[in-house]
């Protein structure tokens, strides 16, 4: 069910401000692609263009093409809601729905989206399957009806991952999913990403070089010339090569920790 994404000539704007300029990048299915680069170089912005979440921000728009298995998600007749059904997202800060229980959070996408037509009787199975998929089941199986907001930060983030995979997307976008978490939770999520890779196309933004090296197959390095300038893709390639023998000087400086 995993699909590929081809980004071509993509510019992303916030009003008049060009935040990301001219990105061309192929994201392969069943791989983990990591976006790395210094703060403000447009990693989150680019990630959000991939499921049309970018345009949720007032004034924000995109110029260019993002093909999802060959089909342009920015074509005139494409409904962004449908795009987001297929391309799920996990955010930097865990954001479980505070009015819902743990189980309610997991099936929220199925309940709220009538287009999905899932029977109520299947919900229990989906809750268990998704929570197991997010490595959270054993920790919460006895309190599924408790509020999701009562979990620890790391558990909340895994709950958000369970919520995202419960709707069975084809691609999972993760924007620094570990940046608000302790080391133990971070490891749990890294393990999880490695497992999810079997079934999903994953794009993960990370600040953490070791993390990118540990979990990704492909790494894309972004940089910006100066603050206020647009971010650009500097180079992308197999993670091993990017970290051992990058083509670009700036990439080498960044991955060796000389700046950023």
């Amino acid at each position: 069910m995993a699909k590929r994404i081809d980004i071509s000539d993509l510019d992303a704007y916030y009003g008049n401000f060009l935040a990301v300029e001219d990105v061309n990048l192929a994201i392969e299915p069943r791989q983990v692609t990591a976006f790395i680069g210094p703060s403000g170089c447009g990693k989150s912005t680019l990630l959000r263009t991939l499921n049309r979440m970018h345009e949720v921000i007032p004034g924000a728009y995109v110029d260019g093409k993002v093909a999802f298995d060959g089909e342009d998600i920015y074509a005139e007749d494409v409904d962004p809601v449908n795009v987001r059904r297929l391309i799920g997202m996990v955010f930097q800060r865990p954001n479980p729905f505070p009015t819902m229980s743990i189980a309610g959070n997991v099936v929220a996408g199925l309940k709220l989206d009538r287009g999905r037509k899932v029977k109520k009787s299947e919900f229990d199975d989906i809750v268990e399957r998704s929570l197991r998929g997010a490595n959270l089941w054993d920790e919460v199986k006895d309190r599924l009806d408790r509020p999701g907001a009562g979990l620890s930060g790391g558990q909340q983030q895994r709950l958000c991952i369970a919520r995202a995979i419960a709707v069975q997307p084809q691609v999972l976008l993760m924007d620094e999913p570990c940046s608000a978490l302790d080391p133990i939770s971070t490891l749990a999520i890294e393990d999880l990403v490695r497992e999810l890779r079997e079934d999903y196309t994953i794009v993960i933004v990370t600040h953490n070089m070791q993390q990118a090296a540990r979990i990704s197959d492909t790494t894309a390095f972004f940089n910006l010339a100066a603050v206020g300038e647009p971010g650009k893709l500097i180079e992308a390639g197999p993670t091993q090569q990017m970290f051992s023998n990058p083509a670009n000087k700036a990439t080498e400086d960044y991955v060796t920790g000389r700046f950023g």
Partner: protein, 290 residues
């Protein structure tokens, strides 16, 4: 005295004085409130009995004891009820428009401006407006419904403003989490945003209800009053607790004054009950983490 302890005594003294002043001010602020409660309770309790709650003032001469507030109680419930039924959905929809759809548009700015203006409208002006518009111009009869419309005008800005503030408090994160699941915007608003803000919205609505429950002037202009029970909110004069109190005071006899105090007591208790119900409901719907 060394550097670590210097000035400590003085600072402690200043702290004590400041604390004392704060407590004293709080006490002074409470005095009028407590004395109102004491006076209304002690004077109102005299005329309170079963008859007071179950009978009307029909055929009761002002000089006589007896009679009751039943017709006024029903009138207030109906008028405030109808006003709430109109003001709450309209107010919440306006707030949704302002927060979720119109955030930077000209129309939103205009709506927001008029809501501000409405906040400052004196209640008698709201009554006059309905009187000239609904009764004089369109030729409708005086009715509890006309009164409810004037109360709606008073409630609406309160509901809009509190709902707006509560919706703004809902983190953008939650909306985005919902969109990212492929949930359409309006479903997100109804199923995620409103439930998250519900507790605060309920409090705001109840405070608006409590505020208009004591309005007198607009009722006199729009439904006037009556000594009898009128269950039909859509036709003819209808009594209400505030106008009942006003009428009894106007009579000026001792039994009437007792009834006026008793009416005031009922009104205060009614508002207190509304307030408590609001607190309970708000706690019930507040997002939980335990």
């Amino acid at each position: 005295m060394n550097d670590l302890t210097s000035g400590l005594k003085r600072r402690r003294a200043t702290d004590k004085v400041a604390t004392g002043v704060v407590y004293l001010t709080a006490l002074i602020a409470i005095i009028p409130l407590v004395s109102i409660l004491i006076v209304v309770f002690s004077r109102g309790i005299a005329a309170i009995n079963a008859e007071f709650f179950t009978s009307t003032m029909r055929n009761i001469s002002p000089r006589r004891e007896g009679g009751g507030i039943f017709h006024a109680f029903i009138g207030t419930l109906e008028q405030v009820g109808v006003a709430t039924l109109i003001a709450v959905p309209v107010g919440i929809m306006v707030a949704i428009f302002l927060v979720e759809y119109g955030s930077r548009g000209k129309l939103a700015a205009a709506v927001s401006f008029f809501v501000d203006v409405m906040t400052g409208v004196p209640s008698i002006v709201a009554g006059l407006f309905i009187y000239t518009c609904f009764i004089l111009t369109f030729g409708f009869d005086r009715s509890g419904f006309a009164a409810a419309l004037s109360l709606t005008i008073l409630m609406l800005p309160v509901v809009v403003r509190t709902a707006e503030e509560m919706l703004k408090l809902v983190p953008m994160d939650l909306r985005e989490a919902s969109y990212a699941l492929g949930v359409p915007k309006w479903v997100t608003i109804i199923k995620i945003v409103i439930p998250t803000a519900l507790s605060g919205i309920i409090t705001g609505v109840m405070l608006a209800v409590a505020r208009v429950a004591g309005e007198t002037a607009p009722l006199l202009l729009t439904t006037f009053m009556t000594q009898s029970l009128n269950l039909d909110v859509f036709s003819g004069p209808q009594a209400a607790i505030p106008t009942f109190v006003w009428d009894q005071i106007a009579n000026g006899t001792n039994p009437s004054m007792d009834r006026a105090w008793a009416g005031a007591l009922v009104l205060i208790v009614l508002v207190a009950v509304i307030y408590i119900v609001a607190k309970v409901l708000a706690a019930r719907f507040a997002p939980k983490s335990k």
